[in-house]
Amino acid sequence: MLLKGIGFTLTLFIFTIVTSIPLGLGLTFLANSRIKPISWLTRAYVLIMRGTPLMLQLFFFYFGLPFLPYVGKYLVMDRFPAACLTFSLNYAAYFCEIFRGGLLSVDRGQYEAARVLGLTGVQTTFRIVLPQMVKVVLPSVANEAITLVKDTALASAIGISDLMHYTRSLVNSRSDVTPFFFAAVFYFLFTLALTRLFTRLEEKFKF
């Protein structure tokens, strides 16, 4: 049973990481857009997603959306897709802020050198700017990823059968607290593995 819960927890984690990082990067470019309304909207989005509790957002996306007038009936989602969507949108906002800082850290001279060498904007972004940005943002991204491991436990609040959910029901039905211990060990080892992974990545991006 716990293994099944771990499956949901891992899936939610992987889905969120894989979607929210590119989404956050996209938001970063929108936030830096020269078209002011786009930049404002993006920043407002980030402000709202970071300024309200993730659990509240979960309730909103799962229970709240269907009650919206007119469009509500098209927004009915199963628990798990609702959780995936919420986590992804929420973490994208955090990643957006992290990447925005990283982007600011890339020296103006890098853009100028790329320009006089005749690189296009896209080439400059992917070959010059992003690799340097990655180096700067890696520690913060690692931090977010670790937070996410533990945030996945919030999904049990809308009844998703993740590790936390099974742990609690086992503890209740058997009047035995050892499942808490197993869950703690799992979260801890997962976090440890991530820490290791990111330390290696940081080694790679030392230049």
């Binding site: 890098q110 320009r115 060498l117 005749g118 690189l119 296009t120 070959r127």
Partner: protein, 253 residues
Amino acid sequence: MDMLKLTDITKSFGENKVLRGVSLSVRRGEIVAVIGPSGSGKSTMLRTCVGLERVSGGTIELGGRALVRDGVYVRDREAREICSRTGMVFQHFNLFPHMTVLDNLCLAPVLRGILDKKSAAERAAELLEKVGLSDKADAMPSSLSGGQKQRVAIARALMLSPDIMLFDEPTSALDPELTGEVLTVMRGLAADNMTMVIVTHEIAFARDIADRVLFMDNGVIALSGTPDEILVNPPSERLRTFLRTFNHSAQPA
């Protein structure tokens, strides 16, 4: 033919007029040194020639093609193409820190489809030898000294076989004992008849290498002439004052 021709270019940052009508033509093979106090507009003038700063008015032609005519710029794609025949060397080198020296050299010509990987690597090897850094091809920029970085930056600009090289204070960020190696490389370019515009504070070097020296002051070319005319017998009090403060700082008493 003029490799570079500026006609009455002007540039303002808000109220501040940085360039107030600068005209200049540089012939093929000519070496022009630009001196002047900081804030006189010499770097800005150089940067406008490669589109890093936009002028408010005037005409800039590179190799006979207008980048901007009477303050109106050509389209961005065309601008990049016109500027692509011009090499630029920055005060702070601006090497790409996440790439080896070899990749710094090969990136632009390969990405732009000018050279394939193999011929780019061959050309890079030649140029690294020319700047005396054959053994540094696989080094990361962070492991190089300032002088070495600047020599790599020069080699990187040469990879695109530019018609003209612009130097924006190439030795100003270097420790005094490292300027020599960079100036030597530039002398080598001069010997190859490279057309060059050099913004510099190295007065002795300018006297030595330049065909023509410009003294910029307050957004205009105040004086222009041979090194002897400008530097040996300075014709204006303002220039004399500038050169004097210079000698004081350059030569410890």
